[in-house]
Symmetry: C3
Subunit: 468 residues, 3 copies
């Protein structure tokens, strides 16, 4: 019994399914462009084996462990590392068994689709994971992981990844990227400039971070101009490791475009730790506009993805830290929030600002109308909770009629679950081909045009938007 159906996610109607299948066949084998994600560059720098199935599939993947948490399984039983000194399960086989016992919770979710895809197509398993075969599953995967062709670089190549972007903080020394560059491996793993720690006055240790930014760049980051210059230098450094983009995930989409004097004053206040919450938000907003201006010079693409209430559970944050599945989307305004940035640089045809959202209500109401007018704007794909067949369908249905396909940027997987990358891109390709097939079969798109669009959505747009 196959774990994945060859026609999965295609339209149900047979004539539309046939069109989707044909379109899909033209894009199924295209190389993967992964321009935004959270894989660990160390994997590819060191090329050591992945330790065990639990550490590959469960412990680092908040999509997986938050679902188990939601049914009362403590994160500590799943081996999620604690930061509060408490114990956490260390036997990967036990963790795996809990996972198998509760695998039914994932019915109907994209996680189940990604996992089954990886089990089958990466590891060659051919029956669904159940409590009964949990141990056998574990052994099977663990044995594979010991083989050379399951080492990170081998998988990277087998996955047919043309380019993979990781994300590093502005202060990161990029040592693993350096190690890759110094190696003889040819895989294209690039970094992305993520300056949260040095642009967010509310980030832990902000002023120390800014001081460290100064040291790294030999700039006086206590002055506004030195601070901006230091960013330029770090961006150039990241560019030298392939970066083509910066990445910004503030709570709101607020942007500002203050006179330099006001910005400098606010910066000084931030350094002294005296900003109110509103001023901190304003400073982050100012920095988005500053980053956009730097992008005009150095060509980095600016990615903005606001709207997540990070670390919502005080207990989980205290016990386990960030990124533990308790980041919850909120209602997000873009129209008022982006106006300062757009008035500053929105009409620049050579700038690319990619907007993401976790608030689906803005696709049609705000983002598509904005991207369908401003030259600098492009829409990122359905993302995170909406990196899913229904999420992708709603994205296309809500945006295409207003901003078309060419103001979108293709798919990104945004994942730290390495083995899910082929599955996720496959879902996106199937979903897009299904959407296109529906347009064709209702007279809204010519089939020859659909073939071109399918290729663009699967490959061309990401490459172009991210300048890869």
């Amino acid at each position: 019994m196959p774990l994945t159906h060859p026609d999965r996610l295609f339209p149900i109607d047979s004539s539309t399914r046939a069109i989707a299948r044909e379109l899909y066949q033209t894009v199924a084998e295209l190389p993967i462009i992964s321009p935004h994600g959270h894989c660990d560059p160390r994997w590819f720098a060191e090329n050591k084996r992945f330790p065990n199935p639990a550490e590959l599939f469960i412990i680092p993947d908040h999509y997986v462990f938050r679902m188990l948490s939601s049914q009362g399984i403590p994160l500590s039983d799943l081996g999620v590392p604690r930061i509060d000194g408490g114990e956490t399960e260390s036997d990967p086989r036990k963790i795996w068994r809990i996972f198998a016992d509760h695998y039914y919770l994932f019915r109907g979710t994209p996680s189940a689709g990604w996992l089954d895809h990886a089990f089958e197509q990466v590891f060659g398993l051919d029956e669904p994971l159940t409590p009964d075969n949990a141990d056998a599953y574990y052994e099977h995967i663990d044995n594979k992981l010991a083989q050379d062709d399951f080492l990170p670089r081998a998988l990277f190549e087998r996955f047919n990844i043309e380019a993979l972007a990781t994300t590093e903080g502005a202060l990161d020394d990029l040592r693993w990227h350096k190690a890759m560059r110094d190696s003889d491996w040819q895989g294209r793993v690039i970094t992305t400039y993520r300056p949260d720690a040095v642009v967010d006055p509310e980030f832990e240790g902000f002023s120390d971070n800014v001081a460290q930014l100064g040291k790294l760049t030999n700039e006086d980051t206590l002055s506004w101009s030195g601070y901006l210059q230091a960013h330029r230098i770090r961006r150039a450094y990241f560019k030298s490791f392939g970066a083509t983009a910066s990445d910004h995930g503030h709570f709101t989409a607020r942007t500002e475009n203050m006179p330099a004097v006001a910005a400098e004053k606010l910066f000084q206040k931030a350094l002294r730790g005296e900003c109110t919450a509103d001023e901190s938000d304003a400073f982050r907003g100012q920095m988005l506009t500053e980053m956009a201006r730097m992008s005009l010079d150095d060509g980095l693409v600016l990615q903005i993805h606001p709207g997540s209430y990070r670390n919502h559970s005080a207990d989980v944050f205290a016990g386990y830290g960030r990124d533990k599945g308790f980041d919850i989307p909120t209602s997000t305004d873009y129209v008022q929030a982006l106006k300062p940035l757009l008035d500053a640089v929105g009409m620049e045809p050579d700038l690319t600002v990619i907007l993401f959202t976790l608030d689906e209500t803005v696709y049609g109401r705000e983002l598509a109308p904005l991207a369908g007018a401003y030259p600098a704007l492009r829409l990122g794909p359905a993302w995170w909770f909406f990196d899913s067949p229904e999420g992708m369908r709603r994205f296309r249905e809500a945006t295409t009629e207003t901003c078309g396909f060419y103001n979108t940027v293709g798919f990104n997987d945004d994942t730290r679950a390495f083995c899910s990358i082929p599955a996720r891109h496959d879902v996106a390709r199937r979903a897009d081909c299904s959407y296109l097939a529906g347009l064709v079969n209702t007279g809204r798109l010519r089939e020859a045009d659909a073939v071109e669009v399918a290729h663009d959505l699967a490959y061309g747009l990401a490459k172009k938007a991210y300048r890869l």
Copy 2:
């Protein structure tokens, strides 16, 4: 000509329809669990005949009379009781004729589906209601209502209801529940603890209500601790009449978790009638957290359904009072609002908090991510205006990918229209089976798993979530 199509609400595609039909056949005859609703317990306590078709189908059902109102028919012409001393139509035949004359207004609405279902399957009618057959319809139904097998208890049994929850205020003496308990009837009709009148400082007569709560429980409800203890006693009393849940419908989802001293101070202010609107909201929010804490002790399930702007029309409220079809949903935040309660008790695996919404935009953005992480949270079904085929489809499409099926709680009918109960549960079962069939036919769910899920959605989840 049948009034209902045997394949109604199933997917249109024939292969998917076949799967849906098969799934449906496994759940169609399951007993009804109705864990949240507004039937009058007196019906079952007294077991007297329903007076006439207008009083059964029109006068108590705000789904029906608000639609007629929307086209200019005064509520008084429909026999809706006035509270302002004005006259209201008292001839049920006249009311029925107006209803029949305007039955076309319900085309495409779930009300039409429920009504046709009841006309056909409860009363054996086989042609659509029209102005021409209005009188014959009336006679037919009225004659049936005079028969023993159309008495409330007989219908309850015929409807195959395993458990039906009604809703009573905290001060209610539960006399009809007592009468049922003292009778030899075995039907399981249980109550639900709804304390609005004694937790909402803006409720008419709040301080008197709290005083009455004190009398009923022999507690000093002028003190914070006595007031809380009185709640515990009333909850226990409600539990003794089968209650497994409390129910809370504030305007916002705001929760608070104040220190006891601050809560007590606010409570005293509320008793003196000195709370500002914001303080009243804060007090209601504090009481949600207090109720959640009591639930940890006594096991009652906590139901929260915010977001309705009650009694929107000043004229209708003045003339007819509450629940007259002018409760209008509003945009509702849950992420910030629930944080105090969730920080207090959200990680408790033995607590069940069921969240409802009238703001569909939060299904995917807020509720599914929250329920897909916090052990204490479950999602109530599509509800009220969204208790409908499209509403249910959107609910599943927006929530399943993030929180799966097992963080939802099955269906509830939430109705005071007794004869619509089988119809409503049937719609839910058909809608869910249709959704599952779509997943199966697109390779997202194995058929054997779908059979299990269908059973859970129709029966198991409600029973488990509500501890029935």
Copy 3:
């Protein structure tokens, strides 16, 4: 190769498609009622030829040129007139070539559908526009435009338009409407009363405009009562040119119902230019209620369409002025905002207030519940960005179950792109018939009823709601 598929936009399933096709055939040839739009009455008054293809299809149509702008083509390259003195392209052939070169951007958008429909069915073209045939296309259309049967009145008749409403400001002299009335042409082109310039304290030249309103009506518009009387006189004047409606597009849906003394005071403040932003909003809100009261007397239908952030780009506004594709929808509240107006006149059965929105999230949450209760309220169709197949589908899916079909008002095209009118109405008819066919094929609507509803949606409801 036809540019349009005869079954376009119909459901994909063959049995549902067959039902949709049958329904469509009963409405396809019905006359067009266009009760809200922005065609230039001068076209029909003068009946001169349209100058060239670029001025017909590109230069006046913000749907078209904003998409080209979004990919970096300056509006000046497209011949959009500048107001800042800068140059703009004046060669229509060059403009047309740019359009053809980028026609692929419109893939999957309703604009492509409307354009192809017009190219084929108005101008008899039979191959898709490409860069290669751009010049031939231009010549073909330009030649046609020179023919008598492509003059505005001939097209009006060929399009089978029964009534077409244009929109004029309160101070407009309606000269072109006068010219039509004085001509021997029988086409029914009526005006609509749009008083923005004299009800919005933030409108350029507000107090001068009010003074001019006084001159036109011989009323003392410096007094509140004179100002209101002047509106009544202008409304009567507009009515004498066929107006059946007024039209109001404020940023919010705010309404007010102040005592006359407070309203007068605010009016005086507005005349003195001393209103805060909030007071200006309040005054606009007060005027909606005043207009509703006047409607009770003179029978004009009140149209409210809030929620557009007008002229979002400061540069584009400074360079090109209003209506340049940079009007962006925002989140809009109706429940609180409309309450003052609804408490004043919402229960009036003889008043018609038509609500539009650009915020789709309110269809099901706010607008359908309001329209499904208040006699005075009706819902306008999916509109502007949502005048599209998916937009219409979502509109019906989100509203029908709550307010049915008879609280909606049929379609309007809201366009200044004259040749798109048949295409737009055709899309609406196809989309509605498709929706109805789905209801029929899932047992939610009897086919005989669907035939009646299809006719109402295509023709009857617009005629009745707009009193045409």
